[in-house]
Symmetry: C2
Subunit: 143 residues, 2 copies
DNA sequence: AATGCAAATGAGAACGATTATCATTCACCT
DNA sequence: AGGTGAATGATAATCGTTCTCATTTGCATT
């Protein structure tokens, strides 16, 4: 199984504490790929692995800064995190069910770099979301 | 000059009241293209055209729903609005000074449609922001 | 294995952006 | 001009998130 080795945390300069191991383990379990702080908090509560909400927020931010997680700001105000698996991608978010699908398009990526360069900007990051209705059967069509 | 004709509001089904005319006029004045609710509120205060903050929020949302304004959710939590002038575009946001530059790239647009279609989604909307450092002299490099 | 200490945690207060409530005021029709 | 339902403004409430600070914990050292 996946056991979120303490080494993972040590390697990025974070002391391996119980709350941090539980939170990382939750992302590594692969149950849910995209989770908000609230999602993580409730998930841990439900399994009896209580971690304070403040700690969840702190740890998620630390993990993001350490590069273990990636933060997304979709519509709706709240931040969503996912495990950073190296390969950058963008998202399509279903407006009906909230389901998130990932995609990568090299043409889009390269055009972005070109456009920014032409305007005299040095790109740090970008954020692309497509909001759509997912027409597939698997869409429960319900938030 | 620009006088935000009452007709503009009537046409979209909104009673033309003083607060609404002032807010629309502010966007039409072209002083500042991208403004948050707070920006609008302060701007109106500074010219003595007092409008309650709650009203600013309400009116901005109504204008967005009516299609007069477009709402953007850049990083940083607060919503930013701009006059809807028909032509869609994306944004580059300077992480130093917060300056916003607009761009449109048809290659990016068409690739998005294609990608979504391949994944079985019906696109409603999309949101693309490039976060960068603006290297131009005009950048005050300060938030 | 016991000790010490800085770093991490948790409970709750505080915060910033936004929305809801509700009494008062206004736009507009007759 | 007058009546009425919609719009406004002051304020309370809400939501996601961060801060504060007393207590606990990881872990290196005895």
């Amino acid at each position: 199984m996946d056991k979120s080795q303490p080494e993972n945390l040590k390697n990025v300069g974070l002391k391996s504490t119980l709350p941090r191991l539980k939170i990382l383990g939750l992302f590594e379990s692969g149950q849910e790929r995209h989770m908000s702080a609230e999602d993580v908090y409730k998930q841990l509560l439900s399994t009896g692995d209580d971690v304070g909400l403040a700690t969840v927020y702190r740890v998620l931010t630390q993990f993001q800064q350490a590069g273990l997680l990636v933060r997304h700001n979709f519509e709706g105000g709240k931040s969503v995190f996912e495990l950073n698996q190296g390969k950058h991608h963008d998202h399509i978010v279903c407006l009906q069910c909230g389901h998130v699908e990932e995609f990568y398009d090299s043409a889009i990526e390269s055009r972005q770099k070109k456009v920014a360069a032409e305007l005299g900007f040095e790109v740090h990051d970008h954020s692309l979301q497509i909001y759509a209705d997912c027409t597939k059967a698997k869409c429960p069509n319900k938030r």
